[in-house]
């Protein structure tokens, strides 16, 4: 099947272009592209700061780590780092999936899993950081 005839061989002769012509632009074609650039620009300083904070916390006990991570500056930097990273990695993994997974149902499953994973990791991290700051 994977020879020269793709699995998704069309059953008709209308081209993909002909089908969308006249419907206007989707208006959101560059949304992910632009968001990936914005989060990468923001990610450079945030990553450097996160690494510095990480080194600073090495070998400290929970009380000290909680105090430092719960301090306003460190807490806000880490919150920004997490949110920026989670947005960036969701778009990145989405790009990997659409590049390498041709099967439609597998692709949709993985895209769904990607969204769930990124939201979960992001929300759990933000929850933990807010708890450290406010002691909820």
């Amino acid at each position: 099947m994977s020879g020269i005839t793709p699995d998704s061989a069309p059953k008709h002769f209308r081209t993909a272009l002909a089908k969308v012509r006249g419907r206007g632009a989707a208006k959101s074609g560059t949304g992910d592209f632009w968001m990936q650039r914005m989060t990468s620009v923001a990610g450079v300083p945030l990553t450097i700061m996160a690494i510095v904070i990480g080194i600073f916390l090495l070998g400290r006990n929970q009380a000290a780590a909680a105090q430092i991570l719960g301090s306003p500056l460190v807490g806000i930097i880490m919150l920004l780092f997490v949110i920026c990273t989670v947005v960036h990695m969701k778009i990145g993994m989405q790009e990997i999936v659409v590049d390498y997974v041709p099967d439609e149902s597998t692709k949709l499953t993985l895209l769904l899993a990607n969204t769930f994973f990124c939201w979960s990791v992001g929300v759990i991290s933000v929850y933990a950081l807010l708890k450290l700051s406010f002691g909820l």
């Binding site: 020879g3 020269i4 450079v44 080194i55 929970q62 997490v82 990695m89 990997i96 991290s125 450290l132």
Partner: protein, 139 residues
């Protein structure tokens, strides 16, 4: 029509030149590494998430995290995560330079590729050394 074509073209024959045909230029390897390190960092975020959560939960949870972080496997994972993070950041800076339309010349792109890998390895070494000393050297 499709059936005839299918029988005539063996599936194993390369249809167009692909990875196995080319020598691996440094720029290609760096392109691949950027994606691979991004993939690694995706799951590495679980580690960061666990770290924050353990700190928020209390001494017992944090002790479990520290036990893992201090184990051989934990050390390898953290070192791998650190290198991936630094490499992906430097690779990202390279992409941002390209986004401005600069750095596409034959020497420039080779230089940028070399700077990415040499920079990431050197910075990871420095970070690991500082971390090692911060942990009290050889315990």
């Amino acid at each position: 029509m499709a059936d005839t074509l299918d029988r005539r073209a063996p599936v194993t024959r390369p249809i167009s030149p692909h990875l196995q045909i080319y020598r691996l230029p440094l720029t290609l390897v760096m392109s691949g590494l950027h994606r691979i390190t991004g993939f690694v960092l995706y799951f590495g975020m679980l580690l960061v998430c666990w770290w924050f959560l353990a700190a928020a939960q209390g001494p017992n949870a944090y002790a479990k995290f520290q036990w893992f972080a201090g184990s051989i496997i934990g050390q390898i994972v953290i070192l791998g995560y650190t290198w991936s993070l630094i490499h992906h950041t430097l690779g990202g800076i390279r992409h941002l330079i390209w986004d401005t339309g600069r750095g596409f010349g034959p020497q420039e792109r080779e230089w940028l590729a070399a700077a990415t890998i040499i920079g990431s390895l050197a910075l990871t070494f420095v970070v690991a050394l500082i971390g090692y000393l911060a942990m009290g050297g050889s315990r």
